[in-house]
């Protein structure tokens, strides 16, 4: 019988939540790295017992951990993220040129078929890769050296590369998203990149449909349909049917189209989930109600999923890396909140229960399906 593991990064440690395929009773292990801010924990699809964790703090900098036994034990691995050559400058908040400075790893994306290979998305925005299980890291510099990079500028959360999507049908094709530069695609395993932001409109930049400058919060893909991408932008939920060449808005009847997370049902490529957030000034859910919205039509037409979720006096946020789906049928959907709850739905979103209610603020959630 399959097992599900949900890997949770929080402001004060990491937690591993596990259940059998019924997804009714959960075992909670942690905190791992107690007291440390864990931006992201992710397992290798090729070897699910291999986990990677990104630990970051304002005091002690970046630390990376690796586990070979699903989080029972951990070892520290390489934390040297050196930009290739002499890094140039990007725009600072006041418009002045600012040198690229490594701050932290936001997102780890293990290879689909090699447990020792993984990518790291970092702040200030750049993409690194490791071929030795995270012991050493090399930048893929073409992204940071893109001709538009000197014009990239950080949003309030920092200039972070937070999303890495590997095309399972073509491992040379990579998608990344950067706040607040936009989405980029490589068709040659990171040797070259181009912005893929046509169709995005953002009223917080002078040229609203500029080639770069859009604050993309998250992109998601169903593995069976790699040319279809879904995006939660700072404002607007978007869809591309041509590998990012063009985007169209699918916000439809959402109560607000601001938000951070977006994900796709593992069995239904046109079933998409978002968690609308009131606005960029009010980083909590609208009307005191925690609602996941599901579209079964690939966007535009959305239904509120509320069963088991608090429908009064709720003012939590759900951050960009804090939603995941498992690979079972019906699909399990998971998300974590700034209030420390991790909710699970074993039935594709129809009903929800809190696996845990009182963790530290949740930064990331990933789900593993163990055969």
């Amino acid at each position: 019988m399959s097992e599900i593991r949900v890997l949770v990064g929080t402001r004060k440690g990491a937690f591993v939540l596990s259940s059998d395929a019924s997804r009714k009773t959960w075992k909670v292990e942690g905190p791992h790295f107690a007291g440390w801010e864990i931006f992201h924990v992710k397992g290798s699809p090729a070897a699910p017992e291999r986990l990677y964790a990104s630990q970051s703090s304002s005091w002690f900098g970046q630390v990376l951990h690796r586990s070979n036994d699903a989080g029972k034990t951990w070892e520290t691995v390489g934390n040297q993220f050196l930009y290739d050559g002499t890094p140039g400058t990007h725009k600072w908040y006041d418009g002045s040129p600012h040198p690229w400075e490594f701050k932290r790893v936001w997102h780890l994306e293990p290879s689909l078929d090699d447990p020792d290979k993984l990518y790291a998305g970092v702040e200030d925005a750049a993409l690194f890769e490791s071929a030795d299980g995270g012991s050493t890291w090399t930048e893929l510099p073409a992204l940071r050296e893109h001709k538009t990079a000197s014009e990239w500028a950080p949003g309030a959360g920092g200039m972070c590369l937070h999303t890495i999507v590997i095309d399972p049908s073509n491992k040379d094709r990579l998608f990344v998203a950067i706040s607040s530069a936009g989405t980029f695609r490589s068709d040659d395993a990171g040797k070259s990149w181009r912005p893929i932001n046509r169709g995005l409109r953002s009223n917080y930049i002078p040229d609203q449909d500029a080639e770069v400058g859009h604050c993309v919060h998250r992109i998601a893909m169903h593995p069976s349909r790699p040319n279809v991408l879904f995006m939660q932008k700072h404002w607007d939920v978007m869809r591309s049917d041509d590998g990012g060449e063009s985007w169209r808005e699918i916000s439809g009847n959402l109560p607000t189209d601001f938000g951070f997370v977006i994900d796709v049902n593992a069995n239904e490529p046109d079933t998409v989930y978002v968690v609308p957030i009131t606005s960029d000034s009010l980083h909590y859910v609208p009307d005191g109600k925690l609602r996941v919205y599901r579209s079964r039509t690939g966007g535009d037409d959305w239904e509120a999923l509320t069963k088991g979720l608090p429908q009064r006096d709720c003012y939590v946020n759900v951050l960009r890396d804090a939603m995941a789906v498992d690979g079972l049928d019906p699909c399990g959907v998971y998300f974590g909140t700034s209030g420390g709850q991790v909710y699970a739905s074993p039935d594709g979103g129809d009903s929800w229960t809190a696996i845990v209610r009182d963790l530290p603020a949740v930064l990331s959630v990933e789900a593993q399906t163990i055969p």
Partner: protein, 98 residues
């Protein structure tokens, strides 16, 4: 032996207690003590100072003998009491609260 006191988070990371001992050959300076510490406990590499520039992390302080040595030269000699092992070299995480 030089005695070094670590903040709680670094104790967890290195898997040690509050006080660790390191051996330094040659002049006892911030640089040589931190070098010895990072050699003995590689998990600490980059957590107290930048691994390349060796610049102290802004929210880390170095104290000894009731003095704040954080802004002293990396190559300045530490007090004799630290060099002789009588007094510890303290690595402190800046306080924060709310």
């Amino acid at each position: 032996m030089i005695h070094v006191v670590l903040p709680a988070n670094l104790q967890t990371l290195a898997g040690v207690g509050r006080l660790v001992e390191v051996r330094v050959s040659g002049p006892v300076t911030q640089r040589s003590v931190l070098d010895a510490l990072e050699t003995g406990y590689p998990a600490l590499l980059g957590t107290m100072r930048d691994a390349v520039t060796k610049k102290r992390r802004p929210m880390i302080r170095f104290f000894a003998c009731e003095e704040d040595l954080s802004d002293e030269s990396l190559d300045a000699l530490l007090p004799d009491e630290v060099a002789s092992g009588k007094e510890p070299f303290l690595i402190i995480g800046a306080i924060a609260g709310g």
